[in-house]
Amino acid sequence: MEKVYSKPRLLTDAVMHYCPGCSHGTIHKIVAEVIAELGIESSTIGVSPVGCSVFAYKYIDIDWIQAAHGRACAVASAVKRLEPEKMVFTYQGDGDLSAIGTGETIHACNRGENIAVIYVNNAIYGMTGGQMAPTTLVGMKTSTSPGGREVNIHGYPFKVADMVAQLEGVCYVTRQSVHTPASVRKAKKAIRLAFENALAGKGLSFVEVVSSCNSGWKMSPVGANEWMEQNMFPFYKLGDIKV
């Protein structure tokens, strides 16, 4: 019988710690596939954040550096400068990148570092138990906004991708999702383009993946995807922002 699907060869056999229904597993899979398809597994260095994807290094069999909370883009900048022939990317959540790591992210973007940034935005701090993030939608309930996010107290949800698209050092910004087979294919194409840009020295590519966190949102996996389509996508609009 013809084999039509197999586990990407760069995904390790380690049991992922992610909750059932989490988007990280799918995004890890397409990152592993892109690296394998480009044939760059021996020359790719990933930088993992603090947050749910802190252990990304256990799941994709390449070189990894685990960075301090928010600092992945600074770490990756130095690695790429010292190893210009290597593929260097960061994999960060919205708690990591859009809050504590804002400065490092914006300046890596502005310097036009030849790296790819994969930004997984589920509008919440997952690992620490569902606290409000800068990306949390107005009215969205979290453990630190139990009555729902209020603009007069917490300000507005933060669209990082739209902001970094303004910077000259950034060559590609797109917002994707991985909640349907079609969206997974599109997200994979975007990540591949981001990696190709970095290898070609075109500047920084920023791929946001709008994701669900059903345990943090206190929903079922399917319910979380539906809620994401109804509430996240109207605010975090999918598609290319800068090409």
Binding site: V47, Y57, A67, R71, S77, A78, V79, L82, H107
Partner: protein, 353 residues
Amino acid sequence: MEDLKLIKGNEAVALAAIRSGCDGYFGYPITPQSEILETLMELRPWETTGMVVLQAESEVASINMVYGGASTGKRVMTSSSSPGISLMAEGISYIAGAGLPCLIVNVQRGGPGLGTIQPSQADYWQAVKGGAHGDFRMIVLAPASVQEMYDFVFDGFDLAFKYRVPVMMLSDGIIGQMMEKVAMGRERPRWSADELGDWCVGVGKNNIITSLELDPQVMEGRNLALQRTYNEIEDNEVRYEEVNTDDAEYVIVAFGSSARIASEAVELARRDGMKVGLLRPITLWPFPYKRLRQLAGSVKRFLVAELNAGQMVEDVRLAVDGCVPVDHCGRMGGMIFSPEDIYEQLKGHGKGI
């Protein structure tokens, strides 16, 4: 003929970085050490040795660039002054936790807070007692001359890679800003790709650099391994210099710029027939506890002269363990004592006043 240059301490660090085979410098401007970054940018070593020089957006970014750079197994460094070093604390802990080698230069200024841009030695505790979260140590080298600011870049990298630990050069605004003659004899190239270790990223081994471990038994094992390294450093790397201690009844203990002032105080005292010696710790960690303990057997009194409110004096008291009195002579906030100030204090104490 020997290659001699008349330069500032900060310029010596920049020249030594290029000549010691440094692969990357990541820094942020702060007085009184900005000449390090300025000199590197002027000399453009990326066009000669291939050394990367990058001005970061903050000290937080600088130290995390050092973390990333050190992960590639290459010689990387940063420099800053007191408030900037405080911002680097988390990153230094990560570097120690992940077992990475690097060089951090602190050209100290007075604190606390924004403090002053004038020199001080008030970051002694921060440097030698960890200075950030978790059980870790840095090797701390205290230069007392521009020559030592040059040489300790070489020594710092050697020690960092020998033990895979962060090394700090704890200088101050006096040594950083003053000009002296420096012999620039030492020079070596950057490592080639096949000279790098096999533990780092970028060498095709699928290595993981992390300080994270959630299994407490494994994490304790990692801590114990670090402590074994620190014990080895304490056994092998203590460095100090002694002047006139053979017959000394009184010993001044001072490091860095204070040791220069204290050595003049020793001369003043000797001229008056007072048997005074000087012990200058060169490594502040590991600290010369054993030698001070030995001296406590023959010395009547110690005087610790340092530009702070009394920090190293605690380590001297630990070493002496109550055998003889240990006094302190200090100035703060950018003020500096004179040799006479130290001598007067010594005489006062010597007379038992």
